[in-house]
Subunit: 237 residues, 6 copies
């Protein structure tokens, strides 16, 4: 029995609320249960130096956590003077995941920066971030289209992400913090709307896992992502 009494293949209640801040070209408050992330997408007519003059754009991401998003207060990274290893790892993952679904040539020489700030953390902040980031990105691109800034289609497909893990011997979908801290194995899957894989990260927290276990997790993830993509489509419709 999962602590949340969910079925093994059951997501937490998911919501994707668009347009939550006034200034951003795209924004989304994404909730996976008690995990709440505020995502904004910012369009800028400038590129990192190493990309200039190549006829294509860039999508990048930054991730942060409000100090009291967590059970105990986490030190503010701005006060500590640097972003921690976990933050760096997550924001690189979000950026890579989104770029896999974007036609950077079609975007033109511009940069979209996606900021994912965790308001409340109950496990799965990176998967919620990616899922919400796609919505904010889609809105940012819609904003550009409505101003005739784009000639071609920029967004090739949906991108969503979900975690799975083996909790007390059973493969389960969308781990919350109570499960995550106890799980033997933990994997994050980032997938497209057509079911292909963008990124897989599986980690044996306690004991190494077998290929069959891994395939069971991937099967769960496939179901979860399909459901999330449906919700994204409803959200941006």
């Amino acid at each position: 029995m999962r602590p949340s009494r969910r079925a093994p293949d059951e997501l937490r209640p998911v919501s994707l609320e668009r347009g939550v801040v006034k200034y951003a070209e795209g924004s989304c408050m994404v909730k996976f249960g008690d995990t709440h992330v505020l995502v904004t997408a910012t369009l800028e007519e400038r590129l990192p130096p190493w990309l200039k003059g190549q006829g294509r754009g860039w999508v990048t991401a930054e991730y942060g956590m409000l100090p009291r998003a967590t059970l105990e207060r986490t030190r503010r990274e701005a006060a500590a003077g640097k972003q921690g290893g976990r933050t760096v790892e997550i924001q690189r993952l979000i950026g890579r995941s989104l770029r896999a679904a974007v036609d950077l040539e079609a975007l033109g020489e511009r940069q979209i920066t996606v900021d994912c700030d965790v308001i409340q953390a109950d496990g799965g902040t990176r998967t919620a971030s990616i899922t919400g980031a796609w919505v904010a990105l889609a809105d940012c691109i819609a904003w550009m289209k409505s101003r005739n800034m784009l000639k071609m289609n920029v967004l090739r497909d949906n991108v969503a992400a979900i975690s799975c893990g083996i909790y007390q011997g059973t493969p389960v979908l969308d781990l919350d913090y109570a499960e995550d801290s106890e799980a033997e194995t933990d994997a994050n899957f980032v997938m497209t709307g057509d079911g292909r894989i963008i990124e897989v990260q599986g980690t044996a927290e306690k004991t190494p896992f077998s290929q069959d276990e891994f395939l069971a997790l991937m099967e769960l993830a496939r179901k979860g992502v399909a459901r999330l993509v449906d919700l994204q489509k409803l959200a941006v419709a």
Copy 2:
């Protein structure tokens, strides 16, 4: 005529929503019009080293702004590797303001950290932060009382803050960004529930001001703070 069509002594719509995050001992989403700040109060049973063993506690504050709280994206301070001068100035102000209303001996050897994170910025983020911080602090202290952690009254009075300025020759209350960027003079007042002054910061943005002008601003502030204190009392009732 003010850009927002408000009367000179009219606040923006103010809301103080409590309990907005799950884990914090106290929290408040404060809105002054389009300025939205999420405030949390965290209780910790530890003190900065220089305060240990003196039989009294401490209240401190940290301030941050989400990158896209602003019209154009502001660089994330955690990525820049340090907090900017404006951030430092504001968080020191918030901490001092709250401490003026707290009996640190009665608090005991504990620290309360107030985090003010600006979700959306339309002028007056520091005054909204202080006003909301008092609510989060009050809830944190109530949380302690309900657990019999306090023998005496810790919070001596309400604390609220408002900005005033001279906009196109007229003293006005609670400047929004449109006014703030044009104002000749800008002052922030932090006051107690009984009308005394905790902190005054007046700055001639363009031309120095006379004593009479300053007194007119102080008069407006007195009215504004009285209204904010009423709203705080309603919020925590």
Copy 3:
């Protein structure tokens, strides 16, 4: 009775010595009693990037304290790897205060940097810094005039600053460290030669103060600044 036996409205002995370092375009060793600050003004034919091409100049300030300016040694900020919050706050105040008296268009596309380094600290380092900085700035501008670099008048008025506070129930002028560390209330006033206000910062160190108390402080400050402005005029004559 004040620890220094001064009358409530009596300044410490003030001296403003010009030309104290060889290379700077303007310099001043300012002393308010045992508080000694070495101020230099540096002219540079370059501007911060965000100001370029707007046809006006900039005046900025930096503040530092020698490690043994204080009773106990203070850690060197260069060794600590960053400027502390108090330093940042003070140098922003000095810069704003000076800019309020400078016609930046008349200055042209140049920057004047005022460095205030505290050699010995006995309270009031920020007010001494501002008062001395005006002298160094005036000398820097005189240096420019003598080289025909300026067509118009750049300096609109004098700028001086003084602290006041309520010490053992009495409003007193120009607090030294012994008073400052005991004062109930502490306010810094930056004013022009014609008696208008550039900046007011009042802080209730222990108990909030009333409007009448604040007005009494402002009255003292007005007298003190008038005296400082007289001394500035003597110094640059």
Copy 4:
């Protein structure tokens, strides 16, 4: 045809040379073709603060690259003042991978730090690092055993890692730089001696991949890791 003319399931020449530095408790120069990594294992009788007094030890890793390990010189991270995102990601992966095979209770309250410094980089530095790190770790543990510092078996199994990718449509094993920079898909597998998975990281560099493609990569990895584990056993025999 692969640029190196290897068969799709063929590793580069691998060597694992032990005892390459004088002072370390364990060390290994690992070469995967032109990728050379010097690994040391350091035993220290101290723990990170958060682990003290829990009756178990810790294994952690740090990763670095000599500036001219690469085709063009890479900026020295010590001079840049921080470790980059890629470095942080890799050293966290190495640490997690090794811990999955170590019985931390049996290790006792001690820390082993594994340093992986890339002398020459031709793709696959993280997989070579993990594979060599296991050898250095094994030698460090043997060093402890020979001093009767351990009562129980600490190392549960071998750990080795290999990359796979889809290069010009074909799944291939152990990508070198020429392949890695062209590959559509890139995955790193960390596995145990008995064929279970510790960590999987698959990334669609250009186009998302299907589940079948992923399974083909995993199959290749299984073969490659089995071969690496054989070589480890030979090395420590």
Copy 5:
């Protein structure tokens, strides 16, 4: 002919003024011509962690330059966020030089920190710093003696330093900036009162030098240091 018209073996006018700041246990304003350095010595009853409990003390030094000590303004190291290589090199030299004349066991478990802050720089700031630092250190030790804190003699001998160089083919003593920037060779000598060498640093700025040239410089230095030691003795008498 030297730019300053000095004879080849002639020092600049040297002054050593003691007691120049109010709080320090020892202080000295040292001037070598237009090079002015304010030195303070601070006694603290604590040690760096690696020295605790060994029954001996420590003498260390920090060095800084006010931004406008130089012809053009130098960036403030506290603002830059780190001490530059030159600063680090010089402060290590000062510390080593002083320690060579101090009996650290006799000092007891205490630390003396010498701060050398350059007010005006015209060449030779490190040699002036060392020469003045000895005076501040001597006063700090006298301060301790007068409080019966020392049982034995702590200071074994005088320490002074001077630069020499080959300027337009001629060995000259005590280079000022005009000479230093043109010199072919530049050497700094730190010596004791009895003529022994503590530290020699010779650098061929342009062309390597012969042993005879080096010996000529050393001979000049010996004379210069003897003169400085006489001045130190007069100063502390």
Copy 6:
């Protein structure tokens, strides 16, 4: 008797192995006994900003130590977030030493960066670095010549370095760690192939030394450098 049983004027076994990494324009693994340093020379067609457009090039150096090059593990500077004082001092010395033998005009507007990374440290890492760096530099310049990038001779002479010290009363050559940590006096000499001095750094670790002692060290150094220059000539022949 020296711990290593060497004669007082005997070097440790020295080897200079060229071409040890694949990508660098020049490289050398230099060994002085158990001190091993990997040196690379990188040619870049760019200059530091302050050197641009002056018709001459630059040679600079960086120095690092692998964490377990030492008996106990040293903290990684990239993780600490800055280069320590010793590192800064050494890399500045290496750069200055090499530049003394390079015709920067003949090099043209290019930069050569020499990276010295200590693989194993047993005393004398800076002298080994300089000696090996000359070999890497010579190879880099040969690489340029073979591509017709140079019209004139760039390298004026050999550069090599050796340490000497007074160990148990006897002047000895090429101190290893066991001697260095016990020596009363320690000096490093950087010299050219024709026996002139580029840099001398002598430090009295414990007691100041006399001029005669210093000359005895210089005599030893002269012999040692002559031998090292012979080995360099053999290496690049």
